[in-house]
Amino acid sequence: MLKINNLHASVEDKVILKGLNLEVKPGEVHAIMGPNGAGKSTLGYVLSGRDGYEVQDGDVSFKGEDLFEMEIEDRASKGLFLAFQYPVEIPGVSNMEFMKESVNATREQRGDEPLSATEFLKKAKEACKQVQLPLEFLKRGVNEGFSGGEKKRNEIMQMILLQPSLCILDESDSGLDVDALQVVANGVNSQRDSARSFIIITHYQRLLDYIKPDFVHILADGKIVKTGDASLAHQIEKEGYAFLGKEYEGVSA
């Protein structure tokens, strides 16, 4: 699915990723944890292709293709999905229109016929219910006036509608109460199957109580420094990041 090899990347001339390696196979769920500033969000942005994130070295293959040769929109329509930590508000473009365009762009890429307005509406309503957002959210501007939790659920709704093959969730749990956290986790779990892969970027272990990862990686100073199974997350929760070295002493998860 995804193979990251020796990735070095910078933002505004500041080097953030310093030789990251990661392989994600179909159906696997990988959690990436790490202290603030380790480069977790940067990884998501670099993979999705955001402007201003410069790749200095290394390569990434996505479904066997060179990811960095693809435009942002091609990565997305080929199945890479990034759920944002802070989704942007776009007044003037309705959530409905936005999601219909994006679903149909993905369908076009796969060689499927575009969905009609009625067909799409049906799917959108189902997805909306699944993430427990009132249906009127479909008519509102994209994320316009949504609370933090509603934005996160809107991201999960898009994921459900787009049916991507690789989902990267960037702190989709931050700022959520337990109920909302469960909605997000249920949304993710409903999409888990033997083909679809997940990278779950999180600061806290608690999301991983609901979404069981196959692997937990610790990202620090731009590199993956430790890999383990779900129990590693529990260890971090209890002991913090002190094992990473002196400068991380007292940094809790």
């Binding site: 999705s48 292709g49 955001r50 402007d51 435009e71 942002i72 929109e73 990565r75 997305a76 329509s77 990034l82 944002f84 989704p87 942007v88 776009i90 003037g92 473009v93 229109e97 936005f98 999601m99 365009e101 994006s102 762009a105 993905t106 890429q109 994209v142 898009q158 787009l162």
Partner: protein, 425 residues
């Protein structure tokens, strides 16, 4: 003085027809005013050098008659209009050959029958303000034009379209005069296009009679080296109604003046303007609304998208005279710049001498929001589509406000394609 203007004045002296007194007036104004000063407020931002030193090149009527069957008429599907076509400034439509609905008459400007001459004389140069140098040139020189009259209470369903095509490097001067009788209705489309080096002046004057209603469109789709300066000028009598939509691209030099004069009470004017300027293009819109009488309303919206190294000028003035009590007037200009090198000079102006009026004006300038664009792209939406979704809404709103369905249907894809092809830098 400019080389071009000197020669134009010389040429104009040889024009001798029933409009001679008006032409004479225009000539003497041209001679005293001369070429606009570089710092003149009216022309400050308009690049006139290419005209100033231009050699006058007129197209002969005979030469153009040959062209009559050899031009591509821009089509608007479903409009089914009466087309009056000027090619390089020469009327190529045989007016004796077109069938008109009852209540509508069309006369040529040159060779107008005696019966029409006095009507033409009383309209020619009476609505268009005299301040405009190229308007004066058109007054003095223009022999190609049409006079359109709608009888009292006639409701003309068939639109009239006046087409100005620039196909070669010459000067083209055309004039349109429209007189709507009391309680009448008409739809007029002024449609200009061309992309070859050329210079067109096209002025139109409208008198909208008491309680009459005009639906007006001006499409100034000149691009490349096709230079054009023109205007649409309206005089609204008591309870007259004007609904005008201006759509413009930009070219080396493109300038439109729209004047709306509330000459009667309770008149209602609505004017929307859209300009989409691709890389390096120039467009200048000057609009002046004169409220001279009470109880008039004006609503004006000008919205534009300006591409890399392109420049737009918007000067919108609403002048409310002392007697124009109870006027409602709104003027708004919104712009989107697609690059750091795109430019807009905007100046909405209110000049109010009456104390019981309600007026508002404003202008905004925005840039592409990178974050929103990235968000849409990251969901697989193609860049061109994403740009249209994010940034075309405010233009689309004005297109959707157009009454005529066939014009809407023609315009929307044409404008969104043009926008999608413009580069964001």
């Amino acid at each position: 003085m400019s080389q071009w203007l000197t020669q134009v004045i010389d040429d104009a002296k040889r024009v001798d027809d029933f409009l001679a007194p008006m032409r004479q007036q225009a000539l003497s104004k041209l001679q005293t005013q001369g070429w606009p000063h570089a710092r003149s407020e009216e022309w400050r931002f308009t690049p006139l050098t290419s005209i100033k030193e231009r050699a006058v090149e007129s197209s002969s009527v005979a030469e153009n008659a040959a062209l009559a069957s050899n031009y591509d008429l821009p089509q608007i599907d479903g409009l089914n209009a009466i087309d009056l076509v000027f090619v390089d400034g020469v009327l190529v439509t045989d007016l004796s050959d077109i069938s008109l609905p009852s209540g509508l008459s069309v006369q040529p400007l040159s060779g107008a029958p005696n019966s029409a001459q006095s009507k033409i004389t009383s309209l020619f140069g009476h609505v268009k303000p005299v301040r405009h140098v190229f308007g004066l040139v058109n007054d003095a020189l223009c022999q190609q034009g049409v006079y359109i009259e709608v009888d009292e209470s006639a409701n003309i369903d068939t639109p009239v379209r006046i087409v100005n095509l620039a196909t070669k490097d010459c000067d083209a001067h055309t004039r349109v005069l429209v007189n709507l009788g009391k309680n009448s209705q008409l739809k007029v489309v002024e449609h200009g296009s061309g992309n070859v080096a050329s210079f067109t002046t096209a002025f139109a004057e409208y008198v909208i009679g008491e309680n009459a209603s005009l639906e007006h469109y001006r499409f100034a789709l000149f691009t490349g080296n096709a230079k054009q300066v023109g205007g649409s000028h309206f005089s609204l009598q008591d309870s007259a109604k004007l609904n005008s939509t201006v759509v413009s691209y930009g070219s080396e030099l493109s300038r439109l003046d729209v004047d709306i004069i509330h000459a009667g009470e309770h008149a209602n004017a609505k004017m929307n303007a859209i300009y989409l300027l691709a890389e390096g293009e120039f467009f200048d819109l000057h609009s002046t609304i004169e409220h001279t009488m009470p109880n008039g309303t004006t609503e004006e919206n000008a919205r534009g998208i300006i591409g890399d190294r392109a420049r737009a000028v918007f000067s919108g003035r609403i002048h409310i005279h002392r007697d124009a009590q109870k006027t409602l007037a709104e003027l708004n200009n919104r712009n989107l710049l697609l690059s750091r090198r795109a430019m807009i000079n905007t100046k909405p102006e209110l000049e109010i001498y009456a104390d019981d009026v309600k007026c508002a004006h404003g202008a905004t300038v925005a840039e592409i929001e990178e974050k929103a664009l990235y968000y849409l792209l990251s969901r697989g939406i193609k860049r061109s589509k994403a740009l249209v979704m994010l940034n075309f809404g405010f233009i689309q709103e004005l297109v959707n406000a157009i009454d005529d369905e066939s014009i809407r249907t023609w315009l929307l894809p044409m404008l969104s394609e043009r926008f999608a092809s413009m580069e964001v830098k």
